[in-house]
């Protein structure tokens, strides 16, 4: 019997961040939409916005057009700072394909 001991080629990974706790409800909360401006996000995100506004009392949905759009722009620290400054409770990001 031959035994080969070999390295796993996928390397190490590190979990440095945990997901934020979920909200108990969306009523009265502020939710922001962020867009990479691709894959019909300009049509799909407004659908989600309309649904949230119709369903949850007191919710404020900030449109994706109020924040930088595009793969690079949405990924910058300044964008995160803008979200914090607007006091958002949650963010929905789209779209990937």
């Amino acid at each position: 019997m031959q035994s080969l001991e070999v390295f796993d080629p996928s390397g190490a990974t590190e979990i440095t961040q945990l997901h934020a706790p979920r909200l108990d409800t969306l009523e009265g909360k502020t939710v922001a939409l962020l867009s990479d401006d691709m894959w019909q996000a300009h049509r799909i995100l407004p659908l989600i916005r309309a649904h949230l506004e119709e369903t949850y009392a007191g919710i404020t949905v900030l449109s994706e057009t109020e924040f930088p759009m595009g793969n690079s722009a949405m990924d910058r620290d300044e964008t995160a700072d803008m979200l914090a400054a607007r006091g958002v409770d949650a963010v929905i990001v789209g779209n990937a394909s």
């Binding site: 019997m1 031959q2 035994s3 080969l4 001991e5 070999v6 390295f7 796993d8 080629p9 996928s10 390397g11 190490a12 990974t13 590190e14 979990i15 440095t16 961040q17 945990l18 997901h19 979920r22 909200l23 108990d24 409800t25 969306l26 939710v31 401006d37 894959w39 019909q40 049509r43 799909i44 659908l47 989600i48 649904h51 949230l52 369903t55 949850y56 595009g70 793969n71 690079s72 722009a73 949650a90 929905i92 779209n95 990937a96 394909s97």
Partner: protein, 449 residues
């Protein structure tokens, strides 16, 4: 789904997220959004009811694998099957990355094996010198290739190259590594005939490039259709790793490493950019033209290839490159003899590859230019004609290829930056090269292995 999971892992989260997935149809232009409308309530669930599967931070270091079978060959076969089932291979046979093989490869550097190279996105796997040696061992590499692989991976991970994006994109991007300096000949890296393909006299480029692909896939998560959406994946078995034909440079022509990064002639260095296509350009005339006429006609023909409505040009327009044109020493010397300097050739190609504004609009390029991340690129949308890059100097002109006059080779870029890295050699370099000569035969101007 894999793209998002990889992206999260790359950001330091577990490979887990609340997301709503659909077939590709709703994401296409003019699509029917009914499937999204029917599930729109699920988006809210992701913000309230979803539970993450991991509640602990920390390193995840995978253990070594043990493969048992009746004899070495059976064990190697079994290992290859297991690697494929783990989605680690490329379909071609792999060498076993044993401690012995990896230690041998590590003779190619003085850096500690746990020395960090970087996180390879989108999965965010951590690449160390040892990880690179494992990949090179898998790919049939040798220790004297390791210095080039280290420099190449550091170049690929230069933030300016935005490797997270080229890894995940649907464009079939691949890194191009151009090597300058005496190391190229020492390690049998091709700069001549068939430099982008297999050549048993010059095996280094295939192994180094294959190791890069294995790293981008196994560590970086660029698995087709899961972590990379590259629709065709061309040039990805070995990417493009080759040397500039420095001995063939006409008098006064600088190397790519000097032109792009200011590295002195004779320094060992890599130039790294990202390409998205590769085209052979038949540039020679029928042979009955006046030499000057043939030169100009051939450059016009090349310029037509460059002048394509490629939205990828917008990524490199401001600070990167539209791509690299490979030109054999025969053509370079012909042109130089007719008074064409490198700068003059680039200027000509830049001017003749510019696109009239009407055509920019007709092909939808204007929208892509206006959507580019760099303000300078956005402002260029009204230029008439629109040049494929901000300045002629950004075009890479590399003297390389078989000693023959008929063709050029164009590797169009998707390149927000052209990275340059010096190559560090270990203290035992001469001994390594002697061992390689012993193993493979002496490597002179013409290798005979």
């Amino acid at each position: 789904m894999g793209v998002v999971r990889n992206a999260l892992a790359g950001l330091g989260f577990d490979q887990d997220a609340p997301m709503i997935t659909f077939p590709i149809d709703p994401f296409l232009v003019g699509s029917d959004l009914t499937p999204v409308q029917e599930r729109v309530a699920e988006f809210a669930d992701g913000l309230t009811g979803w539970k993450a599967r991991s509640d602990k931070t920390g390193m995840r270091q995978p253990p070594k694998l043990s493969v048992d079978a009746n004899g070495y060959e059976a064990a190697l076969d079994k290992m290859n099957r297991q690697f494929l089932m783990n989605a680690w291979g490329d379909g071609l046979p792999l060498n076993a990355p044993t401690e012995e093989r990896v230690d041998w490869i590590l003779k190619g550097t003085d850096r500690p094996r746990d020395s960090l190279i970087g996180k390879i996105m989108p999965r965010g796997g951590i690449a160390t010198v040892e990880t690179l040696a494992v990949a090179l061992g898998l790919a049939g590499g040798r220790p004297e290739y390791l210095p080039v692989l280290i420099a190449a991976m550091e170049g690929i991970l230069d933030p300016g190259l935005e490797h997270d994006k080229f890894q995940a994109t649907s464009g079939s991007t691949f890194p191009v590594i151009i090597v300058n300096g005496p190391i190229a000949q020492k390690i049998r890296l091709n700069s001549g005939f068939g430099l982008l393909g297999p050549d048993p006299q010059h095996p280094a480029g295939a192994s180094i490039g294959r190791a890069i692909r294995l790293l981008l896939q196994n560590v970086g998560g660029a698995l087709p259709g899961v972590g990379t959406m590259a629709m065709y994946g061309g040039m990805r078995y070995t990417n493009a790793v080759f040397a500039e034909d420095e001995d063939g440079l006409p008098d006064g022509w600088e190397t790519v490493a000097t032109e792009q990064h200011g590295f002195p002639r004779g320094a060992n260095a890599v130039t790294v950019y990202v390409a998205t296509g590769a085209s052979n350009v038949m540039r020679r005339g029928v042979g009955k033209e006046d030499p000057d006429e043939e030169a100009v006609q051939s450059l016009h023909r090349v310029a037509r290839y460059l002048r394509s409505p490629s939205p990828h040009y917008t990524h490199g327009w401001a600070n990167g490159s539209p791509g690299a044109l490979l030109m054999s020493r025969v053509v370079a010397k012909q042109l130089a003899g007719l008074g064409w300097s490198k700068a003059k050739i680039k200027q000509f190609l830049w001017e003749k590859s510019s696109t009239p504004h009407a055509e920019v609009c007709e092909t939808g390029m204007k929208q892509w230019i206006e959507q580019a991340p760099e303000p300078a690129t956005v402002e260029s949308a009204t230029m008439d004609p629109w040049p494929i890059t901000r300045t002629p100097e950004q075009l890479i002109l590399c003297v390389a290829g078989g000693h023959h006059p008929t063709h050029n080779f164009w590797m169009q870029g998707n390149a927000p930056k052209v990275a340059g890295m010096m190559i560090d050699l270990p203290a035992n370099w001469d001994a390594l090269i002697s061992e390689a000569d012993e193993d493979l035969g002496s490597c002179g101007d013409v290798c005979a292995i």
